[in-house]
Amino acid sequence: MRWRSIAALGPILLCSFVAAAHAQTAEDFVAQNLTARGGADKLAAIRSYVTKGEMRLPGDFKLAYTETKSRLDSGAACAVRIDAAIQGLTVVQAYDGKSGWRINPFEGRKDAELMGADEARALGDEALIDGELLSATAKGSKVEYLGREDIDGTQAYKLRVSQTDGTMFTYYLDPDVYLEIRVIEDRTIRGAEQETQTDFGDYEKVAGVYFPFSIASGPKNSADSDKQVITIASGEANVAVPPGLFAMPAAPVASTK
């Protein structure tokens, strides 16, 4: 059981860290996080990542969930496509590296709609296999260490990633295993601030890299009942991605007629 062996290492890591806590910098924490994820080589070796599971929206509304991420080049940038289905109808959101689009078939429309630039950027950030923290250098973002903060009883390490466009991601790393347990995303959508809080848990290794299998998101400080919860059943790395998967369809997708 992987989690058990890691848990056993926890106290050792903690003791090591305490001794050097005063000297820790943002760069140190980024490095710790990268190591905790599985290391740079293993992470870079993942060219695509497909997860399947279930998404619950507020009100206990459940959809079958598939998310496909794929690196666009040798850097951090990725494309993403999310499919969520119920009653044979599939909602799609995708980002192809330049623009974002969506399909919402539930009211009878199956043609793709272009996302606004702000929303597309947000989806582009979400697409990152490495995550914002580990992509900061590649994206030219600034990372600061802001001390420790109580996150539901855990004294987490707090890091802030500031993108050049002003978007901020506040990361909270678990003090024992250095994986992110919460990220608060603060960005501007259509000129208005939008803060999203995402809690991560149930990490499992896929191709040697830890990924969260429990992802709960909602407006910052929202009640659990207002959160979208994604529970991953399986994650697979380096899956062959069909050509054109991320491209916005020119015509409506398959009809129910």
């Binding site: 009653q87 848990g201 009942s225």
Partner: protein, 1077 residues
């Protein structure tokens, strides 16, 4: 609880190994805080605002920062339409000043500790700076300032900042005066100090054209528990208040007096406010409290002055109202804060009330948009007010739940209602739950004035005992809102001394008995028609503490807020009605064991305290008549530490439970209560939060869920039927911890385990209902309790790596559902909707929304199974009907069976639809392989068309997004399914008849398909076979993911199909609008 063998073995091994550690195990904050907490508001009455800062951004939007008197800092980026709290993680919530750096829009300064120094004012701990627009804060020093009234940032140099520190209210202090930093707050210099240890800074202003020129007001002031002074001890007593002028950035100062500056009044002075007109540095306004308090105006930069307005609302209560705000674009236009907001358009020669319905009253700050001076945002004791016509007409801000409750009580309605009184905001009653959210309109005002205790009459739910300041108690008819004054009256040549916050108490042993305390304890057994005095004067009756007619300093101010030597707390023993405890504001802890015939003062038995302390709470034990608790509040002696004591022998001896050396507790103590069911669990509210002891007071843990600020907790109430804890905060409204029963399971054995499931209160299937209406973003809505069954478990450490799995099994051990688990450290809570997976439906052009939710499981006993790594924990979990249900289990079963029957029909329909699709798609595929004109191709196309015709009898297929009105079997079935699911009572006969009819219709199509299968399909397959082509095969339809939920908020809000970002955009910033209670 029945853990599986493997977990039992592991836990046993752990227990053996950790036997020594367990003895020392105590619950800490992380262990208890996972119970969670919800705020029910309200913003209906809101609360006092002390400071406002604003800025119009380049894109035209207005950013506002609001400093609440005791409820933190709130930020709006849309001119006040919506707000979010941004200071909740900081250790204090009292705000005195806010300043925005003119040189950097990301930099915000906050001075903590309000300077509108009324009796109930809270405290701060220094000056804070944010460099990210308020998202995070750093304490930049001045930790002993206690309160800061103004921060001014040099408009050309953001590193140069002035902090005006009135300083400590209740004690001498050298840490007061005007401070300056030139390095962005890294270091501060005291550049102007008072002439004595009670004189601090009351105002600072920079010349808008020459920032090295500074004027500052200094203020000599002090409070005691029984009096205060603004200025000296009387109108003519010496005072160190003054007005000072510097032309070198504060390096040197010149006192401005009637001798040096023509036109200024003679001393002694009280509170002094000074401000430059931003558009004309020669125009300076000063409000000076003295025996002839008035507005003074200079037109030569302060060289000479002229007395101007001294109308009632210019000079009323100068210690509480002093701020002047000048229009940034017009030197002649200014506002003066006061009981009402007054405005002048002629440079202060005359003032008129700013608007007709002039807000709540008691104004403290105003911000005028320099880009649009007609936009005026103001704050008073009733919250936020917004004007778009220059302060003539006002919108009321409805989204700041910064209400300052003193006390709280509850009733036994279901859901119960919550009652409480608030500082300057009357007595209110509100819902603890309401479909759609607890909006402002779910709160009702019952009285008037300042509000304190309020109780529903236990003998008649149509009446409420409500109280306003100085012991005014009324019995309020909730139907007519008639208020019957039932305050006990004085005898001949007697004065009754009622505290500002006079205690009233209901007997726990006799529903009809009511107590109220002046210096005597009064008891009524007939709703206040008659009162008996059941005590002598229980206070010290010290005449030196009864000189309120001389209180106020220069301006007499005797509002009942300083009335002293009074009874402050009353508690009758639930175990013995003859045992009554009384605490007084001057240090006495009195007890009678014979219902008032004789009294004993036990205060001298409390160890380690000087005399005269405020006994802020006395609480008789629920379990033992000899046991009682007291909280002692010494903050009005300048001692901000908590003190809590317990006696087990009627006060003969007292033991310390909390003292200044109790590291885990901060803030002076207001209230102590025992858990209703466990004498080992104690709750204490202090100025900075709520604390819990699970071991009889030996160890204390802060109850600190991340959404709960460090706000003053003034009172606690237990709804024992629901096991809820209801919390009155003085600054952030009412909060509820739903179902505190898991705390009783957090003994050392539990805490030592890696994980364990914990039983909670019996789960009900609360009736699902809809209510409320959209109030837009500008209105607060309090949060409802979770809409489902709450499952509680404990884990010693946060689960980060590896799965944490939470399953629900039925009585036969079959899996009902798997729930997303919570993974925090300590207690965790997960809500189960109690709905089965939804029916599988054939896909059509749109969703059928009722069928997105499965039937609700039947009441009964289930099993919760928690899997954490190799360990498995189980617990029985019983679900009952809503106790309000008027239907029976048999009715409920009929509803469930009907829903399941429809679910089955949906399944048949899906099967049929799938087969039809197989035929159609198979025929179309085969046809495409044949040339045009081929007879078999024509046959296949006909078959595909015929199959599709059948399918179109089952589902609506017209796409395009319009309202087609197309309804087929699936849609009709969804309607009747929705009708059955709309209640949990048995279905109506016509609903059952409708199911029968639809089943017949489905059967018709099934028969038609069977005909097609036997005839047309068989023929086509025969011809395909003859041609060597693949025959059309029928397979079971692919298992489409069933999904679940609904008629969920997501559906109702049109969110389905939108993911998180879209959901965010559609969510209110504060408050939960859950549609179920």
């Amino acid at each position: 609880m029945r853990n599986l063998l493997v977990s039992t073995l592991i836990v046993s091994a752990l227990c053996l190994g950790a036997a020594t550690a367990m003895a020392q195990t105590a619950a800490d904050s992380s262990a208890v805080s996972g119970l969670g907490i919800r705020n029910i508001g309200s913003a209906a009455m809101s609360g006092r605002i002390a400071a406002i800062a604003g800025r119009q951004e380049k894109d035209g939007k207005v950013t506002l920062f609001i400093g609440a008197a005791s409820g933190g800092v709130w930020k709006s980026q849309n001119g006040g339409t919506s707000f979010k709290p941004v200071f909740d993680r900081e250790p204090v919530q009292s705000i005195g000043a806010i300043a925005l750096d003119p040189t950097n829009p990301k930099v915000v300064w906050v001075g903590t500790g309000e300077s509108w120094t009324r009796n109930s004012v809270s405290i701060g701990d220094g000056v804070y700076k944010s460099t990210d627009g308020g998202e995070s804060w750093t304490n930049m020093g001045l930790p002993n300032s206690e309160r800061i009234t103004r921060i001014v940032v040099d408009p050309k140099d953001g590193n140069t900042v002035y902090a005006c520190v009135p300083g400590k209210l209740w004690s001498d202090s050298a840490d007061r005066g005007l401070y300056k930093t030139t390095d962005g707050g890294e270091t501060w210099s005291l550049i102007l100090k008072g002439g004595n240890l009670s004189t601090g800074c009351s105002s600072v202003a920079l010349n808008p054209h020459d920032h090295s020129e500074v004027m500052a007001g200094m203020w000599d002031f002090r409070r005691k528990g029984w009096s205060f002074r603004s200025g000296g001890d009387g109108p003519t007593a010496a005072s160190w208040s003054g007005l000072f002028h510097s032309t070198d950035g504060g390096q040197s100062w010149t006192a401005m007096t009637s001798q040096t500056s023509k036109g200024l009044p003679t001393t002694p002075w009280g509170r002094v406010e000074v401000v430059y007109a931003p558009s004309n540095p020669d125009r300076v306004y000063a409000f000076i409290e003295n025996v002839r308090s008035a507005l003074y105006v200079s037109n030569d930069g302060g060289l000479t002055w002229e007395e101007r307005d001294r109308s009632r609302n210019m000079v009323w209560r100068p210690f509480y109202f002093s701020r002047l705000v000048v229009d940034p674009t017009n030197p002649d236009r200014l506002f003066k804060m006061n009981l009402t907001l007054i405005a002048s358009e002629d440079g202060g020669k005359s003032f008129t009330q700013a608007g007709g319905d002039n807000g709540h009253g008691d104004w403290h700050d105003v911000w005028i948009n320099p880009e649009n001076p007609k936009q005026v945002i103001g704050g008073d004791d009733g919250g936020l007010w917004l004007s778009y016509d220059g302060g003539v007409k006002w919108w009321r801000g409805g989204n700041l739940p910064i209400s300052q409750f003193y006390h709280v009580s509850i009733d036994d309605k279901d859901p119960y209602q919550v009652y409480g009184g608030l500082q300057d905001n009357s007595v209110w009653v509100g819902d603890s739950a309401y479909p759609g959210g607890i909006s402002n309109s779910r709160w009702e005002n019952l009285l008037g004035g300042d509000g304190f205790f309020a109780f529903p009459d236990p003998t008649d739910p149509n009446f409420v005992y409500g109280e306003s300041q100085g012991g005014y108690i009324a019995r309020v008819n909730r139907k007519t809102l008639e208020q019957r004054d039932i305050q006990p009256k004085a005898n001949y040549r007697e004065k009754l001394r009622f505290n500002w916050n006079t205690p009233i108490a209901l007997s726990p042993t006799d529903k009809g008995t009511l107590y109220i305390g002046a210096q005597f304890l009064f008891r009524s057994r007939d709703h206040g028609v008659n009162w008996e005095r059941i005590s002598p004067d229980l206070t010290t009756n010290d005449p030196e503490m009864q000189k309120q007619e001389q209180s106020g300093g220069i301006t007499v101010d005797n509002s009942a807020a300083e009335t002293h030597t009074t009874i402050y707390s009353i508690s009758e023993s639930p175990k013995n009605h003859g045992v009554i405890w009384v605490g007084t504001d001057d240090g006495n802890v009195q007890v009678t064991r014979d219902a008032g015939k004789t009294w004993a003062n036990t205060a001298a038995n409390i160890p380690g305290l000087p005399k005269g302390n405020w006994i802020s709470w006395v609480e008789a034990s629920r379990f033992d008549p000899a046991t009682a608790y007291v909280t002692v509040d010494r903050h009005n002696f300048g001692d901000m530490a908590p003190y809590v004591y317990r006696t087990r022998n009627y006060g003969a001896t007292w033991e310390k439970l909390i003292a200044p050396d109790t590291q885990s507790v901060r803030g002076y103590a207001h209230v102590v209560k025992e858990d209703p069911k466990s004498p080992n669990i104690l709750y204490v509210g202090t100025e900075f939060g709520l604390y819990v002891s699970l071991d009889g007071g030996a160890n204390w843990a802060e109850f600190a869920p991340n959404n709960f600020p460090h706000v003053a907790v003034r009172d606690l109430a237990f709804q024992t039927r629901d096991d809820d804890l209801v919390i009155a905060t003085h600054g952030r409204g009412i909060w509820i911890v739903d179902d505190i029963s898991p705390l009783r399971a957090l003994h050392s054995q539990t805490l030592a385990q890696d994980a364990t499931l914990i039983p909670g209160r019996p789960a009900q299937q609360r009736i699902e209902s809809n209510g409320g209406w959209s109030d837009g973003d500008a209105a607060y809505a309090g949060q409802n309790p979770a809409s489902g069954a709450t499952i509680t478990y404990y884990q010693k450490a946060r689960q980060v790596i590896g799965r944490l799995k939470l399953d629900v099994l039925d009585a036969k051990g079959n899996l009902v559902t798997t729930l997303p688990a919570s993974n925090r450290k300590g207690l965790n809570r997960v809500v189960w909707s109690m709905h089965e997976d939804p029916p599988q439906t054939p896909s059509g052009a749109t969703l059928v929304f009722n069928a997105t939710r499965g039937p609700r499981v039947m009441p009964g006993t289930y099993t919760i199974r928690l899997t954490k790594g190799a360990n498995v924990y189980t617990m029985p979990f019983t679900i009952g009907l809503d106790r309000r249900a008027t239907f029976t289990i048999a009715d409920r079963k009929a509803q469930y069976d009907a829903a399941k029957r429809v679910t089955g029909l949906f399944g048949r329909m899906s099967m049929l639809s799938g087969k039809i699709r197989d035929v159609r798609e198979g025929a179309e595929a085969d046809a495409a392989k044949l040339p045009e004109g081929d007879a078999l191709r024509h046959e296949l196309e006909t078959l595909a068309g015929d199959a599709d015709g059948l399918r179109k009898q089952i589902v609506a297929t017209t796409e395009g997004g319009a309202i087609t009105g197309e309804e087929r079997l699936r849609e009709h079935m969804d309607f009747v399914y929705g009708a059955i699911m709309s209640v949990e009572d048995k279905p109506t006969p016509y609903q059952v008849a409708r199911i029968n009819a639809l089943e017949r219709e489905l059967k018709d199509v099934e028969d038609q398909f069977a005909e097609l299968e036997k005839g047309e399909l068989a023929a086509v397959n025969s011809h395909l076979k003859e041609k060597g082509l693949e025959q059309i095969a029928l397979t079971d339809p692919p298992a489409e993911f069933a999904g679940g939920g609904g008629p969920a908020r997501a559906v109702a809000s049109g969110l389905i199909g939108l993911f998180l970002r879209d959901i965010n955009a559609a969510q209110p910033e504060a408050g939960d609008r859950d549609e179920r209670d």
